[in-house]
């Protein structure tokens, strides 16, 4: 990968991230009902993915690095998923 193209890619990524920041703030003022938070989280996931793939160089990283990165999020999914499987299925919240 030659030097100018790498810097151009970083610049484009930074501009897209700034654009997504504007989009997420604008969308927050639109009443999407129960879709508001999922849409905001989707934009955050897109931003995080761009940062991980481009700025953290995961797209060129060894497979083991990608596995460790995904494992971190997989454990987070277990933490959130199993806890919410309890709270979201209760009729009475005990606090």
């Amino acid at each position: 990968m030659n030097k100018p193209s790498a810097i151009q890619l970083y610049l484009r990524t930074a501009l897209i991230l700034m654009g997504l920041l504007v989009v997420t703030v604008a969308v927050a003022y639109i009443n999407l009902g129960s879709y508001s938070t999922p849409v905001a989280m989707l934009i955050s996931v897109i931003k995080a993915t761009l940062i991980i793939l481009v700025f953290m160089h995961v797209r060129h990283a060894a497979p083991l690095i990608t596995v460790v990165m995904l494992a971190g999020f997989f454990w987070l999914a277990i933490l959130l998923g199993l806890t919410l499987s309890d709270y979201l299925t209760r009729h009475v919240i005990p606090f």
């Binding site: 703030v25 940062i51 700025f55 690095i65 933490l79 606090f95």
Partner: protein, 216 residues
């Protein structure tokens, strides 16, 4: 550009393996950090699910312009950081030094705006404690939002502070160390991974703290 000097510790076959091992170690640390912050995100999710109205009302008491500006500052600092990593790989000393300083300056700007917002919220009586008061929300429930707000953003600010100290340390070292040593560019690479991780945490904190209930 002089050839990169390969300094390989005796337990590694070659410099590539050494760099890979260092990178893997940082990623393992970041995986533990995901779970460290994950516990707080879980607490936030459970309480917000339990007290949706109070969380929406409490969120509108935060300063959206500070949150938005701070997000832009951190995203810009990730850009200067990735350029610093690039400069380190190509042994451009002056560029590397100033990019590390720029990243540290943006991080400091983030902390100053955060401190301004904390001062504003404390003066409004929004710091959880006996003096906590809020308009238009159940106080006990809204206090839970602000408890999580101060802990999550406080822990994040601590990470930013540690990042700034490391950035300044490596900026000073970059003036004296031989940049043709591959181990130094690895260190800058790992510092970059840490800084981008702190940015990612904020990318998720920002909508959950500032943007809920803005349309109401």
């Amino acid at each position: 550009m002089p050839p990169i000097e390969k300094l390989v510790a005796h337990q590694f076959d070659d410099a590539d393996q050494q760099r890979h091992a260092s990178s893997l170690g940082m990623w393992l640390f970041l995986a533990t950090e995901v779970l460290f912050f994950g516990g707080l995100f879980l607490a936030y999710t459970v309480y917000r699910y339990s007290y949706p109205e109070a969380f929406h009302a409490a969120s509108s008491h935060t300063l959206l312009w500070v949150g938005t500006l701070n997000t832009a500052i951190l995203l810009a600092s990730s850009f200067t950081m990735v350029l610093a990593v690039h400069a380190a790989e190509h042994a451009h000393r002056r560029t590397l030094f100033w990019l590390l300083i720029a990243t540290a300056a943006l991080g400091t700007g983030f902390l100053l705006f955060k401190a301004y917002e904390y001062a504003h919220e404390i003066s409004e009586g929004l710091f959880p404690g006996p003096q906590f008061r809020i308009e238009g929300a159940a106080p006990a429930q809204a206090r839970m939002f602000f408890y999580l707000y101060f802990v999550m953003t406080g822990l994040h600010a601590l990470h930013v502070t540690i990042g700034i100290v490391l950035l300044i340390y490596f900026a000073v070292r970059s003036l004296f160390v031989s940049l043709t040593r591959s181990t130094f560019s690895t260190a800058i690479d790992l510092l970059g991974l840490y800084w981008h991780f702190v940015d990612i945490v904020w990318v998720f904190l920002f909508p959950l703290i500032y943007l809920i209930g803005r349309h109401a």
